[in-house]
């Protein structure tokens, strides 16, 4: 096996007529052209508006609310989705959750147990307005990856302070936690494999509800 490694690396060095080094690679990487848009072009209000539009374009449901009204908004969303048994990651125990639902904290449920949930409620690390994307990492507030995958309904809380406009802004924020399991979610699960007709919902959640909480001063 190690000889396959040696052989492949040797062939690459021969093809490049030079041996790569960390210094040479780093130096040349810094010089790569990056003339694409990185910073925001829009006002904060417009960025939130854009996120909402792009999410709805993917058939996600979006509601906006003030922090004080979160419990009420959650109640309305969960009721409208007709779900009862709802999985949550450990970090969301702190939330004041609406009464009348069964919230189950994920402490390592089996795949079949996850399959028995009606819905899952999580936070996210950030949202990208331009692409309508929610980014989840395996934190105490977002849960492990399977939790937001197996149940059919995903309700995601997005704080307005965590909304960025562009993809490069998102990557700059994610860099410190780059090695964590990370999932970009853009709308419900979908396929266009049959005659390029977009069908909502194959194996992941078929329904995505986003609650956008206005918690930064700018908005």
């Amino acid at each position: 096996m190690s000889d396959a490694r040696t052989a492949i690396l040797r062939r690459i060095v021969e093809a490049n007529s030079s041996q790569g080094t960390a210094e040479a690679a780093a130096e040349s990487w810094e010089l790569l052209p990056r003339d694409y848009s990185v910073v925001s072009q829009r006002s904060r209000a417009d960025v939130l508006e854009l996120l909402q539009d792009r999410l709805r374009d993917y058939d996600a449901a979006v509601v906006r609310c003030e922090p004080a009204l979160l419990t009420m908004t959650l109640n309305a969303t969960l009721t409208a989705a007709s779900v009862h048994r709802i999985g949550i990651p450990q970090g969301l125990q702190e939330l004041i959750l609406p009464a009348g639902f069964e919230f189950v904290i994920d402490e390592g449920m089996s795949p079949s147990e996850l399959d028995g949930l009606d819905a899952v409620l999580t936070g996210c690390i950030l949202a990208i307005a331009e692409t309508g994307t929610l980014v989840l990492q395996s934190t105490i507030d977002h849960g492990r990856r399977a939790l937001t995958l197996v149940p059919d309904v995903h309700v995601c809380l997005v704080r307005s302070a965590d909304v960025v406009e562009t993809v490069p802004q998102a990557f700059a924020r994610l860099q410190p936690t780059a090695t964590m399991p990370t999932t970009f979610v853009s709308g419900p699960s979908a396929t266009a494999d049959i005659e390029m007709t977009r069908v909502k919902g194959v194996h992941g959640p078929r329904f995505l509800h986003v609650i956008l909480i206005h918690d930064d001063a700018a908005t």
Partner: protein
Amino acid sequence: MSTGTALDPRTAPPFPIAAARSLEDSQLRKNVRHATDVIQGKRARVVSEMPDWEALRISGEAIRRHTMKHLDEYLRQFEENCARAGGVVHWARDGAEARALVIRLVEEAVENEGPHNSLREVLKIKSMTTEEIQLNQALESAGIRPYETDLAELIIQLGHDQPSHIVVPALHKNRQQIRELFRKEMDLPELGESPEELAEAARRFLRTRFLRVPIAISGANFLIAETGGVCIVESEGNGRMCLTLPRTLITLAGIDKVLPRFRDLEVLLQTLPRSATGERMNPYNSMWTGVQRADGPKQFHVVLLDNGRTDVLADIEARQTLHCIRCGACQNVCPVYRETGGHAYGSVYAGPIGAILTPQLQRLQHARSLPYASSLCGACYEVCPVKINIPEVLIHLRNKVVRRDTAGLRVLGNPEALAMKAASTIFRSERRFRAAQRLGRLAQRPLERKDAKGEPWVSSLPGFFGGWTATRDLRAMPKQTFREWWENRSRNNRDAKYSAEAPR
């Protein structure tokens, strides 16, 4: 559920023969035309809303070119960082080595599951690299059942069919054909034909397997040298199922899939989804690094595959082929692919990118007709998100094919090469050139036919040259060449200074 015969460039018929067969299948052409029209339209819409699209393409190309220049360094970085995070990195020189490795890893994983779960089953995420090395057939021969989980790959697997597109492998099938297949294979006689019903059938069919099977095999869209992480881009959630529920995950990736740093994804995750499916972002992107204690598989292996890629890297003019990020945009715009569909290319990599990638991975012996499967119109280059100049590489490969075919005595067995040799002898001497023109005018006389306007045409050339006139007419050579007219004119001018009339 066994897999049909694989697309294998070593045994596939040459492109012109396979293409002629595809062209007779009007249903296939209709399906391919419809699907590629839809994706092209969606792509154009989401690309046009990006004012910095060209800057993203330029950066994408620069990142890929830079990566190839430092490929050994970045692969070492990836290996080190992946291992530090609990992954195990393996290397495979060719398909045979990779197949043996993956089978061994699956056997070990089955053993680790213990006696309570001795089922020899694996889940698979759509991966063109596993198709390239014909992994499913090898797994089946070893008594392991692979379950394809991507909807299109499931359609291919159930139908003992072959992928015909990099991104949408079953685009040659329409809903009625898929319904018939599912009715039979999933035992659902009442199944309707709406895409919703078909997708729902696939969801139910696969869910029990997702919850049961403890081993998964994936490809990779990107490997990240800086972190040792892997990125997979998908739509349905079948990828996420395979990446998070099983206890063992085996990822097979070409050595070309590496990226220098995490930040480089900010370019390619903008251009890939828009180019591939015409979405601003595909529904799910997964990124993970090694093994995490409380999230996902406990055993993680990466197999780094060469299989001809270092040969491509060694060809200075063609190495840009390795920049490809497998978006399939070149297939959707290609006027040849749109008529023939993917199977005619005899390889899992069809369309323009296949026409340059397949012959190189196969070292030209096989698939030597593929560099000619193009009109060189350049549409593929225009849409490529990393600016691979496919026409340039096609011409380079044609050149290599010709040089192979005309080396030494081989020229004698090749009428086209002989004709070219003769032409080059003629063109090198003015005397021979003039003699050939005179001879041509004499020789064409019995073949000439006049059209309604009285213009002479040749519609049937004899023997070897007949191929040229099989599908088109040839304008007859004029009575007088430009040179002759020019010489006469100069002579006449000396006689009558102001008379000059162009030949008709």
